[in-house]
């Protein structure tokens, strides 16, 4: 548990400035308190379950816990992959190399980021730490955000699963690819043109101890804890939404037109289904028009509760407040246009 540097500092405050000592000691004791709480909690709960079992027998609570734990466990491997890549970029790839590899001009940088996203089979949970690290390494924000949006939406795995879920409808696969890529590019360009630098505050820390292995592991650990904490918050919220608002509510809504499009966008945000599985969900919702289902597939991997939590973790709340509405509007518009033309 003391792999966190803070606890270590609390034990050995000699290295700090004098004014820090008090503060650090207090922080350390808060941390010890938290740790104690978490681990004391387990035996307490096990005893409580014996006497007050009914509290934990609630069907809704059980349902919530299953979905919550499931979402978290499902995300952990992708999160680890993302943080390992992120740490590798931070510790092993020299900044000068990245600066040379990425085109300076927005007009080139954004599309190449979009293509890079298309080639990497990742899910939303891995692309957030990677994009965060790219920004911290000096890649233009617009390009990094295009990568962030494109990677989970249009990678080969997602395209194949869409083709399997919509057999005999290759236009659905084409539509998804086009709508998602266009959305990612438009958002990248708009962000490059409009955004002020302080809108995006990279929370990804750089660790520089002069030793590569040391840098790698401390970056990986702190990125994982940072992103993981926010992921858990998002997963808890998604599970609550799924439990409180049962999908059967949507049985009565349906059809086509603007209402269907807005309902499907809202569904995509609240359900937060992985981009690799959402095509199967969309394929089943036959009461909705194809265009509105394309909106679902375009919005889902780019804007959902889980992602908003992860993004505010990596880039700050001010970022999410601006970025989320922008992506949402662009994604719904693009998908509606592509759907109307293609489907």
């Amino acid at each position: 548990m003391t792999d966190d540097p803070e606890a270590a500092l609390g034990a050995d405050p000699g290295g700090g400035l004098d004014v820090d000592v008090d503060h650090e000691a207090r922080k350390a004791s808060t941390k010890m308190g938290l740790a104690g709480l978490v681990w004391a909690y387990i035996p307490v709960v096990l005893i409580a379950r014996g006497s007050f079992g009914y509290v934990f027998e609630g069907q809704a609570l059980r349902n919530w816990s299953t979905i919550f734990v499931s979402l978290t466990l499902q995300a952990i491997p992708f999160l680890v992959l993302g943080t390992v890549i992120s740490a590798a970029i931070s510790a092993l790839v020299p900044a000068s190399w990245i600066a040379n590899a990425v085109p300076k001009r927005t007009i080139l940088a954004v599309p190449s980021a979009g293509l890079a996203g298309a080639l990497l089979p990742g899910c939303e949970c891995s692309s957030v730490p990677v994009a965060g690290r790219l920004v911290a390494r000096g890649i233009p924000q617009g390009a990094a955000l295009t990568f962030l949006l494109a990677a989970p939406a249009i990678n080969p795995v997602v395209m194949v699963s869409t083709a399997v879920a919509f057999p005999g409808r290759p236009e659905m696969v084409v539509g998804r690819f086009v709508a998602s890529l266009v959305t990612a590019l438009v958002v990248g360009f708009v962000w490059s043109a409009v955004a002020k630098p302080d809108w995006l505050v990279s929370r990804m820390k750089a660790h520089d101890h002069g030793n590569r292995l040391d840098n790698f592991v401390s970056t990986a650990a702190s990125d994982f804890l940072q992103a993981g904490g926010f992921l858990v918050a998002g997963a808890g919220l998604v599970a609550a939404m799924q439990t409180l608002v049962p999908p059967s509510v949507f049985d009565r809504i349906g059809g086509s037109g603007v209402v269907a499009i807005l309902v499907m966008a809202a569904l995509a945000i609240t359900l937060s289904v992985c981009s690799e599985a959402d095509a199967f969900v969309a394929a089943g919702m036959t009461q909705f028009s194809l265009t509105s289902r394309l909106v679902f597939l375009t919005v889902g991997p780019m804007v959902d509760l889980k992602l908003i939590a992860l993004q505010s973790g990596a880039f700050g709340r001010g970022f999410s407040l601006r970025f989320t509405p922008l992506v949402l509007v662009v994604a719904i518009t693009t998908a509606t246009i592509v759907g109307t033309v293609l489907l």
Partner: protein, 254 residues
């Protein structure tokens, strides 16, 4: 902290508990990522100790903590606290216990979802597995899919097959039937789809909700919805209903 989450992931990945939450193929990756986290967590510990010993005066070898404390004090604190949330799933699993999705979730499902398509040769499967008068076991998804196709319906009516699932209440059944249910998950329990067949039973012979049963039955052509007419569950012509254990693979996968 990192190492502890790693231990949790590794442990879950190695036990059947994982199958309540993720696909079997994912359990492997969960184990692997758990191992990676343990290695990273331990390395942070070891290297952190070493840096600490080296002393605070050394410029580049400063401990992680010093480095951060001087530069992003309040910030570090914030990050460390957020990381603690990762213990929450473990706490929840301990408090509530690990349960697979059950009849509660099934009852709240969107009833109008169509099954995703799949390749399954029913005729070949039935001929290959129906020897010695034994009824072959069929997955829910394959049974319901076949029941919705005009060509294969007749085959299901002519053959007795075995279906395993848990019992969910049939709200239209007035106590004369239950819904034999199995969840299909694409990615995790967050996107589960309940696949159900209607099992008529004699008065008072209704098994308890959420118990697992194995049903030997054929398709009741008369009472099942016609293909394309509705998405209501198909109705079984039951030969036998027997209790069984919860299977190792709780869910079906597309």
């Amino acid at each position: 902290m990192t190492a502890l989450i790693g231990v949790f992931a590794l442990w879950v990945g190695r036990t059947p508990v994982a199958l309540m939450y993720v696909r079997p193929s994912m359990a492997r990756w969960l184990t692997l990522s758990g191992a990676v986290l343990i290695v990273i967590g331990l390395l942070v510990l070891v290297l952190g100790r070493r840096n600490e010993k080296r002393g605070p005066d050394e410029q580049s070898g400063q401990g992680d903590a010093d480095h951060q404390a001087h530069q992003h004090q309040s910030h570090r604190h914030h990050v460390a606290r957020v990381g603690w949330l990762l213990a929450l799933p473990l706490c929840v699993a301990v408090a509530v216990g690990s349960n697979p999705l059950g009849s509660y979730a099934a009852g709240r499902q969107n009833s109008q979802r169509v099954l995703p398509p799949g390749q399954f040769d029913l005729e070949q499967y039935l001929t290959a597995n129906s020897f010695g008068g034994q009824s072959p076991a069929l997955r829910h998804v394959d049974f319901v899919r076949a029941s919705q196709e005009p060509d294969s319906r007749q085959m299901l009516a002519d053959h007795t097959v075995k279906l395993t699932g848990f019992v969910a209440e049939d709200t239209d059944g007035r106590g004369h039937s239950f819904l034999l249910t199995r969840f299909m998950i694409g990615c995790c329990a967050g996107d589960a789809l309940a696949i159900q067949v209607k099992v008529p039973v004699a008065e008072g012979a209704l098994p308890a909700e959420d118990t697992w049963v194995v049903v030997e039955a054929s398709l009741d052509l008369e009472n099942s919805p016609r293909p394309g007419a509705s998405l209501d569950p198909p109705v079984l012509q039951v030969a036998s209903v027997a209790p069984t254990d919860q299977p190792n693979e709780i869910y079906e996968y597309p």
